[in-house]
């Protein structure tokens, strides 16, 4: 048997390389700003992952756990109970200064100045052409303090770009190496964290966070995540991460889950993945994420988006369900009425729906809900129909 996967070049992969498929940047296609020869980075938990015999693979320049006992089992555990993800690879920057005077207000597609303390907001860092340099979340820590949480592969570039757009008097620090991040996610995560960490967890609403003493250090516990389930992101100094990992996993309701399950979980609720569904050539309007763009403020890339809004997008995000258990994958062709109308940006098998699901970019007239599409790759042709998002609607995220 020969394995093909989510590769841009459609290259044939041998079976023993299967684990890299869909999760890695192939040699010669390194993450932006990173040398392909640079060794993979490791989180403080790499020893724990090895102890559990996790399957490891490169992701965003990091050697990350893809699965422990199995992707479907971990996916199910997160939907039904609570799963713990090592997300230490993501980047964190600390901004200190006047939000408006220091220039932070004019950098992202959303206002930072109007985020109340203790809340966070999702949006984009754009290039001059309106393309998405990264999708990120800003946490308002204090009147003059914000934490910016970015994707791993784009972190170095983000730091340069954001730094170059700030004005004198503002201080931006890359605190990624010193900051660890664990995501407990799942309907039981609130009960578990309340039991283990304290009763104040119980009252944190969606997209709000608290700071608290945890294992002798200051931690940020945020009610956010990437699974569509009730869940938290915990930021803690790196040297305490192993201790927190062990503490949370001592609860039998919590099990570790890898990036394989995380990818299925996020896809089922229609969240975009940077590097697949979003990149420097795709604008938020094309990606169907215009609601995270505030046109009443200044930001880099605004002129390009305004022009695109007037002219109309030449392509738009589409969500589709396969009529079988077959999975579409990244870079498959999307056809409609005998013509290619776009390409897939994400795809996989949805355990909750029992069929293949995918996201793509297509000509706007092909994205009508209910419209039939044909997904093609090599000699395979599969039927799909356009649907709304999320694919899976029963998640506990706002419970």
């Amino acid at each position: 048997m020969t394995v093909t996967g989510n590769r841009a070049d459609g290259g044939i992969r041998r079976i023993y390389n299967v684990l890299q498929i869909g999760y890695s940047e192939a040699p010669g296609n390194p993450p932006k700003g990173r040398n392909a020869m640079e060794p993979l980075r490791e989180t403080p938990l790499v020893g724990r992952h090895r102890d559990r015999k996790a399957l490891m693979a490169p992701f965003g320049g990091w050697n990350m756990p893809i699965q422990y006992e199995g992707i479907l089992a971990e996916h199910r555990w997160c939907r039904e109970k609570a799963a713990l993800f090592d997300i230490c690879h993501m980047g964190e920057f600390l901004f200190v200064g006047d939000i408006i005077g220091g220039g932070l207000e004019d950098i992202f597609t959303f206002s930072v100045a109007t985020i109340p303390e203790g809340r966070s907001r999702y949006g984009f860092l754009l290039n001059e052409q309106g393309g998405i340099a990264d999708d990120l979340i800003v946490f308002r820590l204090a009147p003059d303090k914000a934490m910016i949480v970015v994707n791993a592969a784009t972190s170095d570039n983000d730091f340069r770009v954001i730094g170059s757009r700030l004005r004198d008097g503002a201080l931006l620090t890359d605190i990624s190496a010193a900051t660890g991040k664990l995501d407990p996610q799942g309907p039981l995560s609130r009960d578990i964290l309340t039991d283990l960490l304290g009763p104040e967890i119980a009252s944190v609403p969606y997209f709000r966070f608290i700071t608290m003493d945890l294992l002798g250090s200051r931690a940020i516990v945020s009610r956010t995540g990437y699974t569509g389930e009730l869940g938290y992101e915990i930021f803690l100094p790196s040297e305490k991460i192993v201790e927190l990992w062990d503490l949370l996993l001592a609860d039998p309701r919590m099990k570790p889950a890898g990036l394989g399950a995380r990818d299925l979980l996020r896809l089922e609720v229609g969240y975009s993945l940077y590097g697949n569904d979003l990149d420097e050539t795709i604008t938020p309007l094309e990606a169907g994420l215009g609601s995270f763009v505030d046109f009443d403020k200044r930001f880099v890339g605004k002129d390009a988006l305004l022009a695109q809004r007037v002219a109309g997008c030449r392509r738009t995000k589409v969500a589709f369900r396969m009529d079988s258990r077959r999975s579409p994958r990244h870079h498959y062709e999307i056809w409609s009425g005998g013509a290619q109308v776009g390409t897939t940006t994400s795809g996989g098998f949805s355990p909750m729906l029992g069929c293949g699901i995918g996201l793509g970019l297509v000509a706007p007239n092909a994205a009508t809900i209910g419209a039939e599409l044909t997904i093609r790759h090599d000699n395979v042709s599969m039927t799909a129909s356009v649907c709304g998002l999320p694919f899976y609607r029963e998640g506990s995220v706002r419970r």
Partner: protein
């Protein structure tokens, strides 16, 4: 008497008279991870040795499965349509994929026996 042979592409084939039963090995199933779909060949399909017989998908990858021997498909394992996860739980027993009427018994000379296959896997 049945004899089982293996390919470098990780298919197994059990030969009983002129009937060849085909599946993928435990090694392959483990490497693929959770199987989500098996595209079975059409009954009556004729294949040459090492041509594409059918296809399989896991949460991680899509793969072609090659015919270990030439022949004509006489039956397929319909249970895999509804329960592809059998490939993970019992890859070399329950999860057979197709039975072929073998065209040329001499083709087994191009295949490996278990010992050689196990050694081959160790080297991967």
């Amino acid at each position: 008497m049945t004899m089982t042979f293996y390919t470098k592409e990780h298919e197994w084939v059990k030969i009983d008279g002129n009937i060849a039963t085909v599946g993928i090995t435990d090694y392959a199933a483990h490497q693929l991870g959770d199987i989500t779909f098996v595209e079975l060949p059409a009954a009556g399909k004729t294949v040459k040795q090492f041509d594409v017989l059918c296809a399989i998908e896991s949460v991680k990858a899509a793969s072609d499965i090659y015919a270990p021997v030439s022949g004509k498909v006489i039956s397929v394992n319909e249970a895999l349509n509804a329960s592809p996860e059998i490939v993970n739980s019992s890859p070399e027993e329950e999860a057979w994929m197709a039975r072929l009427q073998m065209a040329d018994p001499a083709e087994t000379s191009k295949l490996m026996r278990r010992e050689r296959y196990d050694e081959y896997c160790k080297g991967l």
